[in-house]
Every structure is written in structure tokens, then in C-alpha cells.
Symmetry: C2
Subunit: 216 residues, 2 copies
Amino acid sequence: MTITITAFERSPDRGRGLARDMRVRWALEEVGEPYDVCLVSFKEMKEPAHLAIQPFGQIPTYEDGDLALFESGAIVFHIAEEHQGLLPDGRNARARALAWMFAALNTVEPPIFDRSLATILERDQPWYAHRLRALEDVIRMRLASLSKHLGDADWLDGPFSAGDLLMVTVLRRLHGSGILEEYPNLAAYVARGEARPAYKRAFEAQLAVAAAASAG
Amino acid sequence: MTITITAFERSPDRGRGLARDMRVRWALEEVGEPYDVCLVSFKEMKEPAHLAIQPFGQIPTYEDGDLALFESGAIVFHIAEEHQGLLPDGRNARARALAWMFAALNTVEPPIFDRSLATILERDQPWYAHRLRALEDVIRMRLASLSKHLGDADWLDGPFSAGDLLMVTVLRRLHGSGILEEYPNLAAYVARGEARPAYKRAFEAQLAVAAAASAG
């Protein structure tokens, strides 16, 4: 039985690897697990068949035999538990890797995601400049903490882990904002993630979907 | 060796149980594990001793022997793994419980937290009404999905789990907004969580800290 994940039929990011299936693709490539992709339209995402697996009508989902999962963080953790290479050995080191996964998605991602959304939805609003500044203040506060923690290490806590995988995907959303470059060690950290062969394979796979969609 | 967690010396919520140590207290009460609490001031949270454990200068942290953890989601998951009662049996059911933990913190919490913050920081801004409406639209979209999924079940996926524990703490932040009451099954769900003896013990413990702080 092959693993099947869902992804956008037409990703709003047009193949820049920002949709959340990218995290799952990358994790599967890191552990060398083949997978099928089921592309869903925005309409299909809100229909009962998809909602039965993803109650919030989002992507990605993950199906493997009788297991159906949602939430990219939980899917990546599941893949990491089932295979070698994405979680360190030892109960304590493993618990810390999960702490970094939650830090990526609950502490670092929200202001970065809100900033992306604001640049699309609030650009013409009278409060846009104020709102952008407020969000970027929070982002810089988080990035300063992260940069200080990382120092000159390659990864957040020992060898590359699922925590780094999620954190890199979260920070990538700042590409083009100029903010990441204010923290050279974080910019290098993201580049290190993007240089991994598994990352590149996952990126190419999602880009191929976007290319087909725009040609179609 | 007793578990030690950190909490605000003076919680901004004045004992309403909204600070994130509440989640960890509740989880420890559910599994019957005693714990010590180290109260930290806002100044101490930004000092090297605390940052060594919590790189973002927040609470709570969790220390047990040679393990030091941060992120309430990861701490609750660790407690759930070490004891009976917060995770179902079976690898698949356990993976789904973690999916609900991530859903609580990464899908449902961000707009609810932003709304709380906006009611404090943006109340006097000319755009406040518009911003509040936009946030509440997102909150209602999430709550409608959650309500539909829950139906007339007691908990999100079988017996009470760490996913319910986090989701209830996230939804509680809507108390006083009137929004939760638009979804009677969710209001009943939150009340069911708050009625658990372990919840009550945790709530009283954090309230005692707030009472002492305001008397001090």
C-alpha cells in the first residue's frame, strides 16, 4: 500500500514550495519513502469526502492503509517516528525535537503567515503600514531569539531533525521580504535546508504540479 | 526528582487560566504527577538562565531530571507519553491525537489569540471594527468546522485525550466574546473540559498565584 497525500490542484503560491504539502513531501523524501499525490480543487477541499479526513477543509492529508492523518506537523512527526533520520535517538532528544516542531508552527509561523496574508488582503487598507510594522516587529523579535539560539550551529539541536525541517519551511515564507537577511546565520540555515537533496526533490515535485496547472 | 515548571509571577490574565502553564498544570493533574512551580518575572524571562531553556523568553518550561523542555504542546505530549490517560492506545489513534494537538495550536489558536491581542492593542485604532470582524470571520469558519466534526460526541476522537486538553484551553480564550455560544456543542465541550476534577485543581493552583500576586 503506497502512502497518498493531498495537495492543491492549483497552489496559491504557484510552485514556490510554500504550501504545506511541501513539508510532507520533504519528510518523505528524507526517509526515502515513495508516495502518491492526490490533487484537490478548492471546491473538493470543502466536500464531505475530504472533510472526513481533514475537518478544516485544508491540505495536506496523509493516508497509509487504515491511518488517515491531517496537520502537517503531526504528519511529519508520524513519518519521523516510522523511519530513521528525522528524529534523534533517545527519549529526551526526541522530546526536544518535538518542542522545536511546535516552536516552528506555534511560535514562529503565526506572525510570518499573518504578514504574508496581510500583504495580499490588506495592502489597500488605511492601516496597512501600521499593521505591517506591528507584524514585522513580532517577526524580528522571534528571529532575534532564534538567531541567538542557533549561533554558529548547523541545526537547532544536534543533527538535522523534523524540527529543522518545519522551521526551514516556516522561515522560507520570508523570502523576498528582506527580513531573513538581517539575520545572516538564519539565512544560511534556510539555505542549508534548501540545499539538501531530499528538499530539492520535494521542491521539484511540487513545482511540476504548478507548471502543469498553469499550462492546463 | 520533582518536575518543575515555570509560570508568570504576575500573569497578564490575572488568574483566568489563559496563560500557557495552565495546559501543563492540567496535564500533570490528569496523570496525577506532583510538580513544583517556579514563578518568573517578565525581566527574568529575558535573562540567560531562562533563555537557556526557553529560547523565545516565554513560559512555561518543564524540567525533570536532565530533561528541559519548552512549548506547551511538546510538554503536554511528553507528559502524555510518560503516563497513562492522555493518549489512546495504538499507534494510529496516538498519531491522530497528535494531529488534534497541532490543530488546536496551529489551526484554531492563531486567530483566537490574535483577536485577544487586538482587543487590547488595537481597540482605539480607527480600523478596530473592521479588523475585529475579519478575525471573527476566520474564527467562525474554524469553529463551524470543529462543531461539525464534534457533532454530539463528548470528545474530538474517542476518549478524552491531550488533543482535547489543548483544544479546550484554546477555546476558553473566547469566553466573554459571545462567539463560543453560537456553537452550543462547542460551548458544552468546553464546559465538559472545565468540569474535570484535574482541570479544577489546575485552575485553582494558578488562581492562587494570581491572588497572591495581587495581594503582594
